[in-house]
């Protein structure tokens, strides 16, 4: 009797696991679209009104909770800001030169980067539900003209791209997501590479840069916008904070800090950019 029950249990478990593996395979082959993509989109749309209704309650609680657990980070940020303020006071004499440099950079890089590209303004409704992805969900979807692969920006630069879209919601894969790869280039030297996310909202890695190239700390990194790219050219992404090259290395280890604070996104713009091919 007991062995029969044990056999039945094992059979049920094996059936469940086979079903799960089949679903995983179907999802992987459909690349997030197809039946599974439709079901996922429907579920998110179904939850959207509840989500909207509860935001007034969950957002303040979330802010408080962030304050408790990010206290050390906030303290560090506070110290950094004080230091920056002191440096800014010390460098006031150079302010005019900086202003001119900034203006020049603006002209070169077109920091009014949205330009003529039509946009959809959206609000971030929630961060990722899981632990192994860096995404946010926005309150706009295909009903508003948002489709998969459209670039998403915030005030300072690139945030990511739309990875899934349903009628009323879209998921934005942040540039820090481990699946994210953005065709990028160093703004000054114009050397192209690929900017990869590693799950850390403060650090991206710029790869495929020749070890012979001299790279200055603080150098701006922008989208390369090569033909058929998901992203238009010259969207600011981040600044180089570290560049290392070991003897015999075929490429440099370049760490880039995003310009946008990916932990605290509130409003973003979806660029209705032609989405042919990928970055």
């Amino acid at each position: 009797m007991a062995s029969q029950r044990g056999k039945r249990r094992r059979t049920i478990l094996i059936l469940l696991l086979l079903t799960a593996l089949t679903l995983i395979t179907l999802d992987q082959r459909g690349d997030g679209e197809g039946v599974i993509g439709t079901v996922r989109g429907g579920a998110r749309d179904l939850l959207a009104p509840v989500q909207d209704g509860l935001r007034g309650v969950t957002d303040p609680i979330g802010d408080w909770f962030d304050g408790v657990f990010d206290a050390r980070a906030l303290k560090q940020e506070n110290e950094d800001l004080k230091r920056e303020l002191a440096e800014a006071r010390g460098e006031a004499v150079d302010g005019e030169a900086d202003r001119l440099e900034n203006e020049e950079l603006r002209d070169i890089l077109d920091l009014e980067f949205v330009g003529d590209i039509p946009t959809v303004t959206a609000e971030v409704v929630t961060a990722s539900t899981g632990n192994f992805e860096s995404t946010v969900q926005i309150d706009r979807g295909t009903d508003d003209g948002v489709t998969v692969d459209m670039p998403v920006v915030a005030g300072d630069g690139l945030v990511g791209r739309v990875s899934e879209a349903s009628g009323r919601r879209a998921t934005v894969m942040l540039i820090s997501d481990a699946n994210s790869g953005v065709g990028a280039r160093l703004a000054e030297s114009r050397i192209p590479g690929v900017l990869l996310g590693e799950g850390n909202p403060d650090e991206l890695t710029l790869e495929f840069i020749n070890p012979e190239v001299e790279i200055a700390d603080g150098e701006l990194v922008v989208t390369s916008g090569v033909q058929n790219s998901t992203f238009p050219a010259d969207l600011p992404i981040g600044r180089v904070v570290d560049a290392e090259r070991g003897r015999g290395d075929l490429q440099q280890e370049i760490v880039v800090q995003p310009l946008v604070d990916l932990r605290r996104l509130q409003f973003v713009k979806v660029l209705r950019w032609p989405t042919v091919g990928s970055a």
Partner: protein, 175 residues
């Protein structure tokens, strides 16, 4: 034989099935609407996993695996990792907890916390390894050990809420 018959009727009771389905719905709401705002060092707990563990601990590996599978599928609707991956990890982990519980001689009030934390580690490891096998190699590159460890600790924290909920859902109908 008569006792087995009664247990089967209890297991198939519509009220019980309804309460378990309600738990899945509540989990989805909590995991998608509440816990993304309650991150600890950027990490959320696996509410569905802890409930599946609690169900397995209370009712055995079969119910635990079925419930874990349902919870995992429901959560998979709202994440970007492969559909079915959480279902796989939750079902296996809940089955193991149910099987482990059957062999337990002694229990303690701390058992739910220990089980939830242990299950968090096991489920996280299954998620990363199976995900990597299915083309999600980036799961190995992430700070996965840190994420799994924090999530497991967080799972232990919510266990005292989840275990009574599971007992309520699995309670036999009143005569």
């Amino acid at each position: 034989m008569a006792i087995v018959g009664v247990r089967r009727r209890v297991r198939r009771s519509p009220a019980r099935a309804f309460r378990l389905a309600l738990l899945v719905a509540v989990t989805v709401l909590a995991q998608t609407l509440v816990f993304p705002h309650l991150r600890v060092f950027g990490v959320v707990p696996d509410v569905g996993l802890v409930l599946a563990v609690a169900v397995a601990y209370t009712d055995g590996p079969e119910t635990g695996a079925l419930f874990g599978f349902a919870e995992g599928l429901a959560i998979d609707l709202f994440v970007n990792t492969p559909f079915g991956l959480s279902a796989f990890a939750f079902a296996v982990t809940a089955y193991l907890v149910g099987a482990l519980e059957a062999g337990l001689v002694r229990t303690s009030r701390w058992m739910p916390l220990g089980l939830a934390a242990g299950a968090g580690v096991v489920s996280g490891a299954i998620f990363v390894v199976v995900g990597a096998i299915f083309g999600q190699e980036q799961l190995f590159e992430l700070d996965s050990v840190r994420i799994v460890a924090i999530a497991a600790a967080y799972d232990a924290v919510i266990a005292p809420v989840c275990f009574p909920l599971a007992r309520w859902a699995l309670a036999p109908p009143r005569p």
